[in-house]
């Protein structure tokens, strides 16, 4: 594919693969922001469809812990591309892309909330679905389905206090 070759000549260390007609590119975290920026500005991938994360803790033959997935689409040509980027403990961090797409704000907050991925330069790095008192990141594979009893420790606000 022409696009993949162009990207591979512009950036080092990219591996591309295809499955059922979907192109995926694995990018190193150092050049992630620049690749996304190039895709947006030079190749017309103007729509950020989603940012999500996968925890590969129990995945067979996985080398890295977390895999971030950036799904992009081109609203003119209806092309799609997925950019993946692997990060590891103890401080999984990637650059925030809110500067490129305003719509990245909430998905990045969700990835922080659910997986504990830090987004460098995010304007509002709070939890989104869970309350601030919550300490765990529940979509990690080492977090049990039943929870760890956090709900029992939530503060109870009485009517008088509220």
């Amino acid at each position: 594919m022409q696009l993949v070759q162009q990207l591979q000549t512009a950036f080092a260390g990219l591996t591309a693969s295809e499955f059922r007609g979907q192109t995926r590119i694995v990018a190193p975290v150092e050049s992630l922001f620049d690749i996304l920026k190039t895709l947006k500005e030079k190749h017309g991938f103007d729509l950020l469809v989603d940012i999500t994360c996968v925890d590969y803790l129990d995945y067979p033959d996985a080398k890295d812990r977390f895999g971030l997935v950036y799904l992009l689409a081109n609203t003119e040509t209806a092309e799609r591309i997925a950019i993946r980027c692997f990060v590891n403990d103890p401080e999984p961090t990637v650059p925030s892309v809110v500067a490129l797409w305003a719509g990245a704000n909430w998905p990045e907050r969700e990835a922080w909330d659910m997986f504990g991925i830090r987004f460098d330069g995010h304007p509002d790095p709070r939890r989104i679905l869970l309350p601030e008192q919550f300490t765990a990141h529940p979509l990690r594979k080492d977090y049990p389905l039943q929870g760890l009893g956090e709900r029992h420790n939530f503060p109870v606000i009485t009517r008088a206090e509220g």
């Binding site: 499955f19 059922r20 979907q22 995926r24 103007d46 729509l47 950020l48 469809v49 989603d50 999500t52 996968v54 925890d55 129990d58 995945y59 067979p60 997935v69 799904l71 609203t75 209806a78 799609r80 997925a82 797409w101 305003a102 719509g103 990245a104 704000n105 909430w106 998905p107 969700e110 659910m114 709070r126 989104i128 679905l129 869970l130 309350p131 529940p138 979509l139 389905l145």
Partner: protein, 403 residues
């Protein structure tokens, strides 16, 4: 963060809107900074309906999870069923038989009609047109009857299965759909005549919550919200899935980007969906509704029908192999993203398969999540009465938002 106790506030007061409020429809919470009646800023606070759907997706198998997909956008559960199983079939590389594809198109379009009817009705209700809501709700009831005839459930349908459908459509259900298509245009005309030129409604929605085309793309909007801002993107046309390629329909767009444009786009889409359902129902291909039917027991994916289970040994074994918790079918160790054009916009699932019959990761990309994120942007500078008009036009479904 803590707006209620911020001493330096330049505005006059803070209003807590929700989580339980009739105009939020579901559990949404907004903290509004007000200057008199003018909204200075709004802070959405979501998560009240967070139920760990994505975590559940890692513990339920591909057929079981469809019941959870139902509960994401409970206004149009059939569309979610189709989206989930289309994504699973993409991972497995299955092509469903033509009759299944047509039936999936029919139920997806009926649920689009039902979703839009509720959204339009509620939009009228929130802006003071109660009668309009009743007019919109009446045809919805008929759609529920059709779904009941199709699969036995009215609300949470779980109609699809991996590689097909739960049941074939009975002649009675097909007759009900035909009857519904005859009656719906009258209801739509009534709705249009009540509201389209109603001065109160038009004044409350025109020029309110304007979203430009560039902003719609920048903020990840899709579906009617994006199309009302002039983004001509419809996955049914752009990346045709099922057999949408065979049907003649138009993509409805508007230029205004305001609440009124979103209202008109949804209204026009109901008519287009009717066109699709009419074409699909009159040209319904014969044959089986799941891949099991095309090549008996060849693909160990879809459940055999009950008759085969009770009368043949192959059927019994296949059924047993599929429903045992340590058996099931094999999936590739791969990742796919598949999106469908749900009533509210792009509903996609990112599925990671690890070889077992359960998804390793089942991410749901719901349109509501992106649409509610742009709410503060739309409401700034408007009055408090516009909050419900903008909320209604975005059609945010909390269960899909919080998952």
């Amino acid at each position: 963060m803590d707006l209620a106790h911020d001493e330096r506030q330049p505005y006059q007061w803070t209003l807590n809107f929700g989580p339980q409020h009739p105009a939020t429809h579901t559990t949404l919470r907004l903290v509004l900074k007000l200057d008199g009646e003018r909204v200075v800023d709004a802070m959405p606070d979501i998560g009240y309906l967070h139920s760990g759907f994505e975590k559940l997706g890692e513990h339920l198998d591909y057929n079981q999870y469809v019941t959870v997909a139902d509960r994401m956008n409970y206004v149009s559960p059939m569309a979610n069923n189709v989206a989930w199983h289309m994504a699973v079939e993409k991972l497995l590389g299955i092509e469903t038989p033509p009759r299944c594809q047509s039936l999936r198109v029919i139920v997806a379009e009926l649920s689009r009609i039902s979703d839009h009817l509720l959204c339009l009705g509620a939009m009228g209700l929130d802006t003071g047109a109660f009668t309009h809501f009743i007019y919109a709700f009446n045809p919805r009831e008929r759609i529920y009857d059709i779904f009941e005839a199709l699969c036995g459930a009215r609300f949470t349908n779980s109609y699809t299965r991996v590689g097909g459908l739960m049941y074939d459509a009975s002649p009675k259900a097909i007759e009900m759909i035909r009857d519904f298509l005859k009656r719906l245009p009258k209801a739509l005309r009534d709705m249009e005549r009540l509201l389209n030129r109603n001065r109160i409604f038009v004044e409350r929605t025109k020029g309110v919550g304007v979203l430009s085309k560039a902003e719609a793309i920048d903020r990840g909007c899709s579906g009617p919200v994006a199309r009302a801002s002039g983004v001509a993107r419809d996955l049914r046309k752009d990346e045709p899935y099922l057999n949408y390629r065979d049907f003649d329909f138009d993509v409805c767009c508007a230029e205004g980007g305001d609440c009124y444009a979103r209202y008109l786009v949804r209204l026009a889409e109901i008519r287009e969906s009717m066109k699709i359902v009419r074409q699909a129902i009159e040209n319904l291909p014969p044959g089986p509704v799941n891949v099991m039917g095309t090549v008996p027991f060849a693909s160990r994916v879809s459940l055999p029908d009950k008759k085969a289970v009770e009368t043949t040994i192959e059927g019994l074994i296949t059924h047993f192999e599929l429903v045992m918790s340590n058996r099931g079918f094999e999936t590739p160790r791969e990742e796919v993203y598949f999106a469908t054009e749900a009533p509210n916009g792009e509903l996609g699932f990112y599925i990671v398969g690890d070889g077992s019959q359960r998804a390793y990761r089942a991410r749901c990309r719901g349109p509501s999540f992106f649409h509610f994120a742009l709410f503060p942007h739309l409401i700034r500078g408007h009055t408090i009465g516009d909050v419900v008009a903008v909320l209604g036009s975005l059609n945010v479904i909390a269960a899909e938002l919080d998952r």
